[in-house]
Symmetry: C2
């Protein structure tokens, strides 16, 4: 018995070390990637991807090695559950999940796929530039083909598309999401139409001008301090495309991009990335150095960035508090009132391009992609069918028809890279955020007064308590249930959008 | 025959891949180290050393694996020399050297040593702060003991200390260095005394003042451009202790430290590090991605940094050209003439601390350390003997007696970290630089006119042609012989120093 106990303890020790080593590889790869996208000298980038690739591949080899399989079996032996702490138990089950998913794919097949995905991304880039869907179509069909092979190898869930969805939002199903998205679409399509017909449109003309970059930078830093971003555990830099990356629990970095002609682009970008970053900075230190020390899913992650960017950052009380601070830095350019500024940041306008969409119509862009992904994997739609389907759905939900495929089906990189099942996360984030805000309003009755005073600490602490600290210890479903007492429900987002835009557009 | 050929080719291919993989690990480790010392958020540094340590250890495991031993044997098989390119041949012989050196040390012994060295460095830091040599003495004896064990395992060369020397300056011997250093010391001790007695001392008082950091930064960047540092293949940042690090051939980074009260500290620091950096930036691209893509030795590396910092950067023509540029940035503080500024940057003053020493007496600091290291490894001196030996040599060569051990034998980190044989590189650098400058003056007869016009390209190109491009393909001895037609000779440095300081101090 003592012998067995010691064998078990040894296996657990080795397993934890293995997980720590994987985390160390990931820390190195993340830093190299961050450097590549921020300040690395141009000529030195040749070969940098190979270095990152090598580190990622070493981590992958560890995670999928036969030894990992043996350790998992030892630690999962029936009757041993009680010997593992909550953290170790979760670590074992998460490692098992990755292990099973990976070992089911023959290495040769996976290699072929990686090469294809890389070629396909390049082909997409060119096809979009040339507005030439035909040149990309073959790649897309092959990417879909491989993904279908993977679904077969992993084993389809309720539907084939469920298998993909679960990878980004564990526990989410087509059955659940159909209900949520159908109801959301049913509410948002008429709301967007009503807004489009309103004659009370916010003015945005005054936003034009030249905004000194150094002053923008300084305001972004000020904003981060106000939100509670910990500069001793993070930093902000510039990059072409803003992103957040986690080096480790106490080294969480964000980037932004300052446009001289647009003072709000970097500002809301910074707030968005800070939402992601504060999630990662506030995971409990107990999880430090383990692979559980991360946000639990794409959807919950987006809820944090969108909560700060939209729910708080595009609210009237927020600008009652902060407009003066912004105006004092740009007195020549910003002569309007706080209310006018607030309205200008909340215009709704159906458009063709997802990444430029407002917080309301954004969800319709996502629903279109979700419905098309289902048609591909559950309905057998081919690449050749997609442009027509795409254009028809844009006409139906947004009242617009893309003049070219470049403005339509070719606009996103995701499918070219094989990322199917990812898009729903963005709208899930909006819905989670609205549902959390609803609970928060009841638990912090003076919430909006606090915002109007710039006292954001108790809001951030609510999020840390209910979301951040858990890292990957809880599933998305456990998070939303624990935080709000209810499973995900789209009605909170609908109510939030209706209330806000009825007021702004005087519907 | 075809079979054998293909086996050989396969081994060569595998060997090159192995070397490339080692380089990739090193690239990652270097970047993590750079980040740790420049901009990483404070709280995130916990555990960063472990990540770097893991990467270094993976590289070490590869370099010393049994498979590497097998490949080396295959590639070294008698009669196969002609089948390897010059680069591959050198790669094999360098890998062999590292391999032999490493596999001779039992892993357990090496681990003990690494732990001890780390403790010893901490103990040294504390001992220096408390001026308590006795607290460090035991560590130093143990570090010396391990080093002696390593010498036995590696196999002593002509003398035991030769084994250590060769690790930093391949091919250098005690016999050669004794001759060189004895003659150098014989010339420099009286020269330093004569200078000390001169009544024509340069004025440095005018250097006091406050120098805006942003302007200093801007001037450092301007200086780097003038020298020919390639900003598309490098960058400059700030750190507590200035350093140069190579991420890869086209990503060579330097740091500096701006002191608001001293305009020359960051300036000469930047020029020094740029000398190191331009060496690494200008290795031939044929060596890119191999472990030969580095400077060939510590001594040759220091020759490049010191050539730019002292030979060029502290020359009269250089300040004839650039003083105006500096003055225009600090007109309030710098009211003296170019000549006065030039003189102020060339004061000679015997002092106790090596890192604050001028370019003349610096060599005496090094000779003292060299002589003591020989006494330890060839003469059996113990840690307990060192303070007395140290103080006696400082009195004899520099005319000074350290008031405390903190200002004496405890001042350098090197011995606490087991770096024996490293110090001579600094003076070797000075001597190589002077000897190269002598050849350069004859091959570029208008060299100093070019400097006075700020046309530094042909000087840099001379260095690239004769030094930089070869990377580790040539040994230090081959470099100095190839560049100057003669083996290393201290008389060039003596002549340079005599000429320069006879003029400045009117001796």
């Amino acid at each position: 018995m003592a012998e067995t106990s010691s064998t078990y303890e040894k296996a657990l020790q080795e397993f934890r070390e293995l997980d720590r080593k994987i985390c160390r590889y990931n820390e190195a790869a993340s830093l190299l990637n961050w450097d590549m996208r921020t300040g690395a000298p141009r000529k030195g980038l040749d070969g940098r991807s190979e270095v990152i690739g090598m580190l990622a591949s070493e981590a992958f080899l560890l995670a999928t090695s036969p030894r990992t399989g043996e350790l998992l079996e030892q630690l999962e032996e029936p009757g041993t559950e009680g010997r593992l702490s909550e953290i170790d138990r979760k670590l074992v089950s998460e490692t098992r999940k990755t292990y099973d998913r990976s070992v089911k794919i023959p290495p040769k097949l996976y290699e072929e796929y990686v090469v294809l995905a890389s070629q396909s991304e390049s082909a997409w880039e060119e096809a979009r530039a040339n507005n030439d869907y035909a040149a990309f179509q073959g790649y897309l069909d092959r990417i879909i083909g491989y993904t279908n092979q993977f679904i077969d190898l992993w084993g389809p869930k309720e539907t084939r598309y469920d298998t993909l969805l679960d990878d980004y939002e564990p526990g989410m199903t087509v059955a659940e999401l159909d209900g949520i998205f159908n109801s959301l679409r049913g509410e948002l399509v008429p709301l967007a139409s009503a807004i489009a017909e309103s004659s009370n449109k916010p003015d945005r003309d005054f936003l034009q001008g030249h905004f000194d970059k150094e002053k923008q930078k300084e305001f972004s830093r000020y904003m981060l301090e106000q939100l509670g971003f910990d500069f001793e555990a993070g930093r902000i830099d510039e990059s072409m495309h803003p992103f957040q990356t986690t080096i480790n629990l106490q080294d969480v970095r964000i980037t932004t991009r300052y446009l001289p002609e647009d003072v709000t682009s970097a500002l809301f970008g910074t707030i968005h990335e800070a939402g992601h970053a504060m999630y990662e900075q506030n995971v409990t230190p107990e999880l430090a150095g383990t692979s559980l020390c991360r946000g639990t899913s794409m959807g919950i992650h987006e809820s944090q960035s969108r909560f700060w960017e939209n729910t708080i950052g595009r609210s009237r009380p927020f600008w009652q508090r902060y407009y003066g601070d912004l105006q004092s830095r740009f007195p020549e350019q910003l002569k309007v009132s706080a209310e006018q500024f607030y309205r200008s940041q909340n215009t709704v306008q159906p458009s063709l391009i997802r990444i430029e969409a407002d917080e309301l119509t954004y969800n319709l862009h996502i629903i279109i992609r979700y419905e098309i992904e289902k048609m591909i994997f559950n309905g057998g739609a081919k690449a050749a069918d997609l442009p027509a389907i795409w254009n028809e759905k844009y006409r139906e939900y947004l009242g617009l028809t893309p003049p070219t495929d470049a403005d339509g089906v070719l606009q996103d990189v995701h499918w070219s890279a094989g990322l199917f099942g990812y898009f729903p996360s963005y709208s899930l984030g909006n819905m989670y955020a609205a549902q959390m805000a609803d609970t928060m309003e009841r638990q912090l009755p003076n919430m909006w007064e606090l915002v109007a005073r710039g006292e954001l600490a108790s809001i951030r602490e609510w999020l840390t308590q209910n979301v951040h600290r858990h890292g990957k210890l809880l599933t998305p479903k456990e998070i939303i249930l624990g935080a709000t007492g209810k499973p995900l429900d789209s009605s909170y987002l609908v109510k939030y959008l209706k209330d806000k835009y009825t007021d702004i557009y005087k519907l």
